[in-house]
Symmetry: C2
Subunit: 205 residues, 2 copies
DNA sequence: AAAGAGTTTGACCAAACGGTCAGGAACACG
DNA sequence: CGTGTTCCTGACCGTTTGGTCAAACTCTTT
């Protein structure tokens, strides 16, 4: 009988193990900086065994990126569904900051890819992401026109939110090197700062 | 006769050519993603010739990083030398944004290094950079105490400035993919947005 | 328990890589 | 012009890397 996804238990488990190990390594060393042996060791599997589950190193990387693009941009979709404009955006900022704290590997994988010219996801950026951002920019423009939000450029507002929040994941070593925080304590200060930053900027006078 | 730096004209020229070409390649592909052949081709020299001027690939990379660390953090040093606090910080923001526009390669080289754990410059970060940031944080705290600046966490203020400005260099492809700007036109909008962002946040009420 | 599908691995390969080296070419200088 | 120094290159080397493959092992199913 032909199933759509004939995955066995072992396949499910090992595919997950590999992707998780690969996320570790790719996010730390970038695509070219990562070797199959590193992934294999991190996953506790042999190199040929990796290639039994994925046809190539690039396939592993691509699988991670695709999985990522789905979930990473997701919070942006929920902007403007209810509530007060300023609260909506502040909530988005805090949600993004939480993601930097809880999923730094994903953030760094993304950062590595973009910094190096996004060779593998440029289509996604110029297509679906661009459309989504433009759509949300319109929502924000509507709020501004209604006097519910201070006048700001919506696109650059979104960029600034992305950069300030993802900074805590992507530049983690720098932040920690300067603050020497205990654990993730500094994320609370960051949340407080960013909330004030955007509240003051966005609240209409 | 023994000179301190016996550099000939040819040495001067070729060293510069190599470093410039290497900056191109390293900033786009990261350290491990870059090959000596790529640098050689970009520089218009042969691979062994590179290694006549630099003992290794890592030496080229290190030379770039050292040169960079000197100049990259420099604008921060000039904060608090004169003028009104809010203006000082706004000027710093705009200066950093200009640097992202005019020296995106340097910014990306730095970003690549940090994202991947800053293996080669961690000492610089935890030492001199940390000290400088703490020093400027004290200056900002002084301004706040004097009522010349709104109450904000100085460290996170600095982080936010770094991230928002460098974003336009490091995530250039993403920004361009979404905005589809002509040339560097969007930098003016970014400057306007960031100036408003920090002016509203920092001006005491 | 036997068969067949699914899983794992050691041994291997070709290409790419960072780096070496002997010797030749270009240059500076008396 | 000659000679010593600086500059440059083709050929080469050992290692690393992504990937292959036949053979062996294991798990499920009947």
């Amino acid at each position: 009988m032909k199933m759509e996804r004939p995955k066995t238990r072992i396949q499910q488990k090992n595919t997950r193990t590999i992707l998780d190990a690969a996320l570790d390594v790719f996010s730390q060393h970038g695509f070219r900086g990562t070797t199959l042996d590193q992934i294999a060791q991190a996953a506790g599997l042999s190199k040929p065994n990796l290639l039994y589950y994925f046809p190539s190193k690039e396939a592993i990387h691509d699988a991670l990126l695709m999985e990522l693009m789905d979930t990473w941009v997701d919070p942006l979709r929920h902007i403007g569904e209810d509530g007060h404009p300023v609260e909506e955006i502040v909530a988005y900022v805090l949600r993004k900051l939480e993601m930097s704290r809880d999923y730094p590997r994903e953030s760094r994988l993304f950062a590595n890819e973009i910094v190096q010219g996004a060779p593998r996801i440029l289509d996604q950026i110029e297509g679906p992401l661009r459309d989504l951002v433009n759509e949300k920019a319109e929502v924000i423009r509507g709020w501004i026109a209604a006097g519910e939000l201070a006048e700001v450029d919506p696109h650059h507002l979104i960029f600034s939110i992305w950069s300030t929040t993802q900074h805590y994941a992507d530049f983690d070593v720098q932040v920690r090197g300067i603050l020497r925080p205990e654990g993730d304590a500094h994320f609370n200060d960051a949340a407080q700062f960013l909330e004030a930053l955007y509240r003051r900027t966005l609240t209409p006078r």
